[in-house]
């Protein structure tokens, strides 16, 4: 008897996301997906394709993980400390493997670069929202007189967006205290 699909599509996306996060996009085959999701291969070939699951896994990363964190940062009243708190939290998630391998979006940038237009659209949304959230914090920090050169905050926002990439490499070889120190040093550049 053919297996019937007893999982909802969002559940499948969630499970597929974990597989893509650990293995990347190109390494994962339709067979891997079928095994991992416990569905028949024909489901992957005919109904929910690898590309579709991948795009929706990235979307769900942005919508359910990154957007809420960015909203919290944007609304925070702690100025630069809210950034410190965010980066420390990211470091914890990387080191304790809450994030199974780096940041999914950074992994995708390194693996696929701009090879696929649809993925580039997701980068734009992800990094665009990150940048505007950082900028909101910087405006608040200016009001709190934490920033010596307020005329530079547009550059600071670009600089801060870059940090998530470096952390996604450095956590692989540096200790927690080294990483915290690194973040403190980087944030002190904009104070």
């Amino acid at each position: 008897m053919a297996r019937t699909l007893n999982k909802s599509y969002p559940d499948l996306v969630k499970e597929a996301q974990h597989l893509f996060w650990v293995k990347g996009y190109k390494t994962v085959t339709a067979e891997d997906l079928a095994d991992h999701l416990n569905v028949s291969k024909s489901v992957i070939y005919n109904k929910y394709t690898k590309d579709m699951l991948f795009m929706d896994a990235l979307d769900s990363y942005v919508i359910s993980l990154s957007d809420p964190i960015m909203a919290e940062i944007r609304n925070s009243k702690d100025g630069l400390d809210s950034l410190r708190k965010f980066f420390y939290m990211l470091i914890d998630a990387l080191l304790d493997k809450t994030f199974p391998r780096s940041c999914l979006m950074v992994n995708t940038v390194v693996e696929l670069r701009n090879e696929q237009n649809r993925v580039s659209d997701i980068y734009d949304r992800y990094f665009g929202n990150m940048r505007s959230s950082y900028l909101a914090v910087l405006h608040h920090a200016v009001k709190m007189k934490q920033i010596k050169n307020p005329q530079l905050i547009e550059s600071y926002a670009d600089f801060l967006v870059g940090l998530i990439f470096g952390i996604s490499i450095l956590y692989k070889i540096k200790s927690k205290s080294q990483l915290h120190h690194y973040i403190d040093e980087q944030l002190s550049l904009i104070e």
């Binding site: 490499i169 692989k172 040093e185």
Partner: protein
């Protein structure tokens, strides 16, 4: 006696391109056979397994490409000029390679589950750190200041090796320039560093 019928470095160059383009995990031994025109038996005899090929490919990449990029840091030119040249050297089109750094590319994929690659990444980053510290020491900065700047510049290296992959050539230059200004402008006239 049977002579080896292939050029090891040529095979490894092919594998660098293959792994960089498709990812190590996505390449099968068959893909490698197809790309290199060397049969499976000879590949296994020379390298033991797929991971053996990867480690040798990383080694060759380091010797042929990274070494000359890191050597840029040994030049006697103004610091900002040397650093700009160093970062941008990774984003030029070299030998048909994609932009960025092969060692960082492989590390992103594998370090979390592969200790040999982790050691490789660690040695590589240490080598860059050492070259950066030497650059500042040559320019009469104290050890403490050299180390402090190096921490930030190593971070910029890791940032740019990923972030710049999705930027236009103009965005890459302005990102690197802006970051260097931010990091280097903290140097005061009497050589201290905030």
């Amino acid at each position: 006696m049977r002579y080896k019928e292939f050029n090891t470095n040529k095979v490894l160059e092919d594998c660098i391109s293959l792994f960089w383009q498709h990812g190590f995990g996505a390449c099968s031994i068959n893909d490698i056979v197809k790309k290199t025109n060397v049969n499976r038996f000879s590949l296994y005899k020379e390298f033991d397994n797929k991971e053996g090929i990867l480690l040798e490919a990383l080694h060759l990449y380091h010797l042929r490409y990274s070494a000359s990029q890191i050597a840029i840091l040994h030049q006697d030119k103004p610091i900002k000029e040397v650093l700009t040249q160093f970062y941008l050297s990774y984003l030029k089109d070299i030998n048909g390679h994609p932009p960025g750094c092969f060692i960082i590319h492989v590390s992103t994929e594998l370090v979390d589950h592969n200790n040999l690659i982790k050691i490789k990444l660690n040695d590589y980053i240490k080598q860059i750190e050492t070259a950066l510290i030497e650059l500042f020491q040559r320019n009469q900065f104290s050890m403490a200041v050299s180390k402090k700047i190096t921490l930030r510049l190593t971070g910029l290296f890791c940032n740019s090796m990923c972030f710049c992959l999705i930027q236009s050539p103009e965005e890459r230059i302005s990102y690197i320039e802006m970051s260097l200004d931010l990091i280097l402008n903290k140097i005061t006239q009497n050589g201290t560093y905030a």
